[in-house]
Symmetry: C2
C-alpha cells in the first residue's frame, strides 16, 4: 500500500545512514507497560551513556524521555498525538536533531502497541520485542506480526513468575512457531536478573 | 477524516438498532493481556448466558471466542489480520450473524490496543477501559484518548499489588485529569475480588 511503500523508502535511507556510520540501532516494541523504559534506563546505567542516544515515542507526555535523561543519556521525545506507531520519517527527523556519533548505539522506544509498529520499518539494525510474563503465553500467536521480524524476545518481569500461571515453555514454543529464529531472553528489569545476557547480546551485534 | 466519518455513520446505525432493542452493549478496551477475556469469562459464569453474547476481536486465532464459549455464551470471533481495532462495519456484520435478543447484554472485546480503538465508535452504550496494575500509574496520561470516553476504568490484577510499586492514588488522579467522570473499580479477575461491584455497575446500566 502506498503509505507503507513510502515509509520503507525512507527507512532504507535511515538504514543506509545509520549502518554507514556503524550505529547499532534497536527498535524496542511491546505493549503499554511491559517495561521498555525501565529496561532502557537500567541498561543505560550499565553502559557508557556518552556513546548512547534514545528516541522515545509516545502519544502524549515526555515522561519516558525524562526518565532516560536521568541516566545521563541524550533522548528525544516524539509525541505522535493520535498516532499509534513511530514511522521512518519521524526517525529521520530525530536523527537530524540527535546527530548520533560514529559507532554509537541508538535505542528507539516505540509507542506501546503490539500491532501497528510491526508494519513500519524505521531503519533499525534489530527489532527487539518485549513481552511481559503478566500478559500471557498466547500473545505471540495472537499478535504474530510483531514477533515475526524480531531477532530477540525479551520476557520481562520474571520476578513475578511465582505469582502467575505463566507457561514459559508454551510461550517460547509459540514464538518459535511464528519465527523459528527468534531468541528468547528471561529478564527482570527491576531486579536485574538476566541483564548481563541482554548486555552480552547487545555487545555481540 | 473520511474513514472516521464513515465509521461514525455506521456506528450510529448500530447504536440505533441496539438501543432500540434495549441491548446493553459494552466495548471493552485495554492493552494486550490486561485480562479482558479472563474478566469476561468470570463475568459470564455469574450471569445468565442465555441473555448474553460476545463479539471477540483479535488479529489472529479464535482462542478468545473459544474461551468465551466454554461458559455457554454465544461468541463470534472476528480476525482483523493486520487491523489494529474493531470498527463499526465489523460490528454491524457480527450483529447480523448473532441476532442478539431484546433486553440482552452484548459484550465486545476489542483488539488488545490502548491507542487505535479510541478513534472507532462501534455503537456501544458504554466503553469500559481495563488497565492492569502491572502496567503502571502513568498510562492514563500517556494514552489519554482511550480513557477520555470510558465510563469505567477497571484496574485489574489487584492480587499482584503486594509485589508491585503501583501508585493507586496517582493512577486514579491521572485518569480523572483526563476524564473527571471516569469511575475506577478495583478487580482481580482471577481471585474474584471486586467482581460484585462490577456486576452491580453492569446491572445499573
Ligand atoms: N515487577 C516488575 N515490574 C516491572 C519490571 N519492569 C518494569 N516494571 C514496572 O512496569 C511498569 C511499566 O514500566 P515502563 O517501563 O513504564 O513500561 P513501558 O513499556 O515503557 O510503558 P510504555 O512506554 O507506556 O508503553 C512500571 O510500574 C515498572 O516499574 C520488572 O521487571 N518487574
Ligand atoms: N494475577 C492475575 N492474572 C490475571 C488476572 N486476570 C487475567 N490474568 C492473566 O493475564 C493473562 C492475560 O489474560 P487475558 O484474559 O488473555 O487478557 P486479554 O486482555 O484478554 O488479552 P488479549 O485479548 O490478547 O488482548 C492470563 O495469563 C491471565 O490468567 C488477574 O486478575 N490477576
Ligand atoms: Mg515507556
Ligand atoms: Mg482476550
Ligand atoms: Zn496503527
Ligand atoms: Zn489503528
Amino acid at each position: 500500500q502506498d503509505i507503507l511503500a513510502k515509509n520503507d523508502a525512507i527507512a532504507e535511507k535511515n538504514r543506509e545512514f545509520l549502518s554507514g556510520r556503524n550505529i547499532k540501532t534497536l527498535n524496542l516494541v511491546s505493549s503499554p507497560g511491559s517495561g521498555k523504559t525501565t529496561l532502557l534506563t537500567e541498561t543505560l546505567k550499565l553502559l557508557n551513556t556518552d556513546h548512547c542516544a534514545v528516541i522515545e515515542g509516545d502519544q502524549q507526555t515526555s515522561f519516558d524521555a525524562d526518565r532516560i535523561r536521568e541516566t545521563g543519556a541524550k533522548a528525544i521525545q516524539i509525541n505522535t498525538g493520535k498516532g499509534c506507531h513511530l514511522d521512518a520519517q519521524m526517525i529521520a527527523e530525530a536523527i537530524g536533531r540527535l546527530i548520533p556519533e560514529q559507532g554509537s548505539t541508538l535505542f528507539i522506544e516505540n509507542v506501546g502497541n503490539l500491532v501497528c509498529p510491526a508494519a513500519f520499518d524505521l531503519g533499525e539494525s534489530h527489532k527487539v520485542a518485549i513481552l511481559s510474563v503478566t500478559e500471557g503465553e498466547d500473545k505471540p500467536l495472537k499478535y504474530p506480526d510483531i514477533f515475526a521480524d524480531a531477532d530477540l524476545m525479551i520476557l520481562n518481569k520474571i520476578d513475578l513468575l511465582p505469582h502467575l500461571n505463566f507457561d514459559l515453555d508454551a510461550c517460547v514454543a509459540n514464538a518459535k512457531r511464528i519465527n523459528p529464529k527468534i531468541q528468547p531472553l528471561l529478564v527482570s528489569a527491576t531486579t536485574g536478573e538476566g541483564m548481563q545476557a541482554w548486555l552480552d547480546w547487545l555487545a555481540e551485534r
